[in-house]
Amino acid sequence: MFGYVIINQSDLSEEDLLRYRQCYCGLCHSLKERSGNMSRLMLTFDLTFLTLLLQALYEKEEREVNGPCIIHPFKQQSWWQSEITSYAADMTVLLGYQKLMDDWNDDCNPLKLWASLPFKQHYRRIMQQYPRQSEVLEDRMAKLSFMEIQDEQDPDKAAGLFGDIMAEIFVYREDHWTDTLRKMGASLGRFIYMMDAVVDLEKDRKTGNYNPLKDLPDAKDNHYRDFLEMLLGETVYYFDKLPIVDDVQIIKNILCSGVWSEYMRKFYPDSKESEKGE
């Protein structure tokens, strides 16, 4: 997960900002409760987005909590949690653990292996509880590693594998919305993967790291903006099909503006828009 699916703070009302922060804090607390304090380090904005989306779709009962928080020891905090938050917390650990194992395989840094140890038992529990998601994740992560070794230069292949992972994670349960959520997750996953490739292109060319755009033109001058917008076009199309009424302003803020924060900061550091980011 790459942390591109974030809010654009300057365009959100106070109320929506609080709601988003409470969702983020709720996810952080769910991580602690389910997989131990260390798992809070795996917290991502991408899974906060998923929490908000699935909660708005399924309207599971929310528990509002006020209390102290180890991350903000001098401030009274409030947050909300639901069944969805628990699901997103488990998916966070599933992805986070795979990421650590992937890093360990890449650079054989024993610190990464050591860091993964406290999560092993939780990873096993989650794998048993969510076989559909974890099977796809393990399979596609293995294929992604193989692709990096092969230096595969077909962007659709690599992005498609990451899209598959997100597609499964977006499907909270089998029902009338399964198909739409899967397609939305797949297109957002493809977008995240390609956004990461675009933003890191220059750096990867220097370091020799894998990047599926290496043989293509530079990322300057908006060259890649049209396919990033194409991928997001699919995402918002499927989002619009979902009967979601709550928190639409926050979700639209993320999909229409927040997702570009890193891109704007990188390629248009002087423009107004780049200051809006998280």
Binding site: D226, V236, D240, K241, P243, V245
Partner: protein, 224 residues
């Protein structure tokens, strides 16, 4: 479904998107099988509500009031990566086809017509990169788009269109593959595609003529 979808959801025809979604949510809460485990009619009612919502969102709901020949007012049709358009439907293409061209291109063309898209790409890969013309990128884009390879399809359509700006087929393909991006832009600016502002209107007209010509219609690409 024999009843009007708008009647099933209890909303008027000019209801806003939010009103439709709210109406759906209220009904879904009432009739959801989880909440009515003993009511055999609830599941059927729920299916009806789902179908009605889908019909309105797909833009097919208006067929109910205007008969089968009615005009659907759906503002936007997403470019579907598996949809059944015939890229070589126009007479222009057939005329072009009869002229001499590389055997790889001919093979790729026939594979695409026979829906063997991967084989088409394999045939094209035999052309060294220095000898690839606009035609190569065009054929590659078509085959890639049919395989769902969105990024490659768009990139190659762009190159084909840039190499041969006067070739209307290449321009049309590029515009068609940009459809989802255009939708995104209108979504982010809050402009509804069915009510285009002056600069969007141009794009909408382009897309309409692209769709027609790719479906085998004439070659009337009049644009910006």
């Amino acid at each position: 479904m024999d009843q009007d979808p708008y009647t099933i959801l209890g909303v008027s025809r000019d209801a806003s998107d939010e009103e439709i979604k709210t109406a759906y949510r209220n009904l879904a809460k009432k009739y959801h099988p989880d909440r009515n485990p003993d009511d055999p009619n609830a599941a059927e009612k729920m299916n009806q509500i789902n179908a009605a919502y889908d019909a309105i969102k797909d833009g097919t709901a208006n067929y109910y009031s205007q008969g089968s020949g009615g005009y659907s007012s759906a503002g936007y049709n997403q470019y579907s990566w598996s949809q059944n358009w015939n890229p070589f439907g126009g007479s222009y293409q057939q005329a072009y086809q009869q002229t001499q061209e590389r055997s790889e291109y001919q093979a790729a063309y026939h594979f695409i017509v026979a829906a063997h898209y991967q084989e088409a790409l394999n045939a094209l890969s035999g052309v060294p990169s220095g000898e690839r013309t606009g035609r190569w990128y065009y054929l590659s884009s078509v085959a890639n788009s049919r395989l769902g390879n969105r990024i490659q399809a768009l990139e190659h359509a762009r190159i084909a269109a840039e190499m041969e700006p006067s070739n209307s087929s290449y321009q049309q393909l590029y515009a068609m593959l940009q459809q989802n991006g255009v939708y995104y832009q209108s979504y982010t600016t809050g402009n509804d595609m069915s009510m285009p502002s002056s600069d969007r209107l141009c794009t909408s007209l382009c897309l309409a003529s692209v769709c027609c010509s790719l479906c085998g219609g004439g070659n009337f690409f009049l644009c910006c």
